[in-house]
Symmetry: C3
Subunit: 296 residues, 3 copies
């Protein structure tokens, strides 16, 4: 039984297969490859994009949604995650789970009688975000080798960053780390990807010299004890900065939602690739559901 | 690409076409005219009737629901309405939106890549309520011309009233305004419909002399600074008042929910038409979805 | 028009028919016996298991879910349950309702234009839980006659207990009551089932000498004014207690969710039957939906 708890659960060949299938669906249109399947979406945390794109993917592939509202649930009565998963896996053919605790998706997999897809577990991983990031680069660049990508913004608290790094390790790429000093990539992660990292900077401007600039939302609520009050202004990306400092063909990616770290004047500029990225979420998640449920 | 943001987006011919289609569905039964369509219901405000009747309409026509829970969403992370709509319109074929701010549906339409239906934007408009009001009158009266209608209750804060007035302007009807003084129709609206308004009164009893008495919920929470404490009692409609003051064939309409402004002794009386009105919500919304998505 | 408000709404023959149909579905697999049906799930109280297993049952039988979120609803505007039900019954073919007030399901049935299934009304009844309890015993024991069952735990506040007692009254069974003194079965219920009750004890250990031990969650939040602080420890069931005091073939049932009243070391032991019971919820609810909607 296949699951996707960590991006490391799938190898390079499988990553490529899923990405190519996603682009095939985008080109040829939807088809009902998963009739009669019931797919549970268990979200123990707020989510718009991930949840809606999974649910759209479920419906587009002919399956049905079994939705769980964490706020209206037996959690209030004190039930363990394990009991909730045991039960839900008896009612569905696959579970998509988001949960605030790191490691929760793995705990779910250990007791589930159906496959699990991790839609974000605390600050740990967000492997389906990574797959759609790769689909977007594959679509744009034509390959997952031979490009430079800057990981920018909040590299300390983001859960998309670890998953993306693990996936990129499979490919021939160069990585730039660009973040405010307080939000640098943790050392244990940096050590693992030392051979790919060609530059570490605290300057947004310097980070822009790259094929892809992957911006992440600065998670202000998690930063305490800092006196660096100029921090925010320096890390807002606008069209003017792109025009002055980016390469001519630099594309801006962002897992979204954004707050104010990318100004809206980039939306209609040639630098923007983040809306395409969001759109690719549906194709990617269909391709993943099909893979997990054995369509290919 | 068609949308329905304001009732003024559709002309008299289109209004009649949608109303007639609704009654045709009521007579001939449901059919799967919208297979494979995904329709997003984005409700940023509490709703029972409008949401459930839209969702029932979606399912009855063979389409699927992509539901968005505003309380469990990225709104908490600070995303703009525009970004939320851009994303959702990539995941669905049509968006039904309710939002507390006047003008929000128009903002949604300006960035959406799929059609928008306004299911209520603040105190501005509620065009689908108006359509089902008209369907109910058409069914009962046989025409949308040649009747007198009293708009009663809270004419100041209700959003159904402006939409209904705009629609009625297309037809040969007489309008009576009946409201507590503090809740009179705003002057700018009154000016626009001067030629149809045959009477303005602050007496509920006087307003009952009409073919249709359209009662609206008094939105107590929005009224401040008044000392008129007898206000409520005078504006509760009961069967006894109907029998004393209404015409023999007067029918009571109400967008519902009601609190206490219509007593339940009217429910089983010949005056009641509000439950039929609520039931017509499904037929009307199917007819509208079909129109927007190009079935006719 | 059939409904299931109380377990007493169906006689012994019907109970057996529904239970047998549930096991038939479990053996032969799902089939789309309810295409084009819309089934509303109205949950005015938190629920995971009951709600998800109903929704899974709805989808497995080819019907569609019309879901109502009580927290985001017109309840805030003051609408009565009766008005909400009148409306919902115009939008759906069947309503499944859970509500915190005893008697609410009956009130719903009195105004509904479609069938009602009671999914729990306060401390009053929970008839579908009872049906799945019986399905589980029928599957395991081969009959609903000729066994001893202990009702254990909170017999005072549980709503599953009254429904189960009423159903068991139809069959040739022996009942043991085992509860902390403060949580004894109310006298009026005890009087009704006097001929079946062979023992009443306040000892968990004594209660374990039975074919089935039906444990219920101790609803701490409802117990006030007690000084019996050792109460909890005495009523936690673990594997060691089973091995010392239970019969060799005793099976533990529980409506779930559990908090800590059954320790997890029983989960993989031969005593455990509660996960099977939870799984049977889907088959049972499909069989019930089919019965109510006239498939058999």
């Amino acid at each position: 039984m296949k699951s996707l708890v960590s991006i490391n659960d799938i190898d390079k060949t499988t990553i490529l297969k899923i990405c190519q299938r996603a682009l095939e669906i985008k080109t040829h249109g939807f088809s009902k490859t998963l009739p009669d399947k019931i797919i549970a979406t268990l979200f123990f945390e707020p989510s718009t994009r991930t949840k809606l794109s999974f649910q759209s993917a479920i419906l587009r592939s002919g399956a049905q949604i079994l939705n769980f509202e964490a706020d209206n649930s037996s959690l209030k009565k004190g039930e363990t995650l394990e009991d909730t998963i045991r039960m839900t896996s008896a009612y569905a053919d696959l579970i998509v789970i988001r949960h605030p605790e790191a490691g929760s998706a793995l705990r779910a997999q250990q007791v589930s009688s159906c496959p699990i897809i991790n839609a974000g577990d605390g600050t740990n991983e967000h492997p389906t975000q990574t797959l759609l990031d790769l689909v977007t680069i594959l679509e744009h660049h034509g390959s997952l080798d031979g490009f430079t990508i800057t990981l920018g913004g909040d590299l300390k608290y983001s859960r998309t960053i670890p998953s993306l790094l693990h996936a990129l390790a499979n490919f021939d790429v160069k990585i730039i780390l660009a973040s405010p000093q307080l939000l640098s990539l943790p050392d244990h992660l940096k050590a693992n990807f030392q051979d790919k990292i060609i530059l570490q900077t605290h300057s947004l401007k310097e980070g822009l010299k790259s094929d892809y600039f992957y911006m992440t939302r600065v998670q202000k609520e998690r930063i305490t004890g800092t006196t660096d009050i100029t921090f925010e202004e320096d890390w807002i990306l606008n069209k003017n900065l792109c025009e002055q400092y980016a390469n001519q063909n630099t594309k801006i990616l962002h897992p979204l939602p954004r707050v104010n770290e990318i100004t809206t004047d980039i939306d209609d500029s040639p630098y923007q690739l983040y809306f395409t990225q969001a759109e690719n979420g549906v194709y990617t998640r269909i391709a993943l559901l099909e893979y997990i449920l054995g369509v290919y």
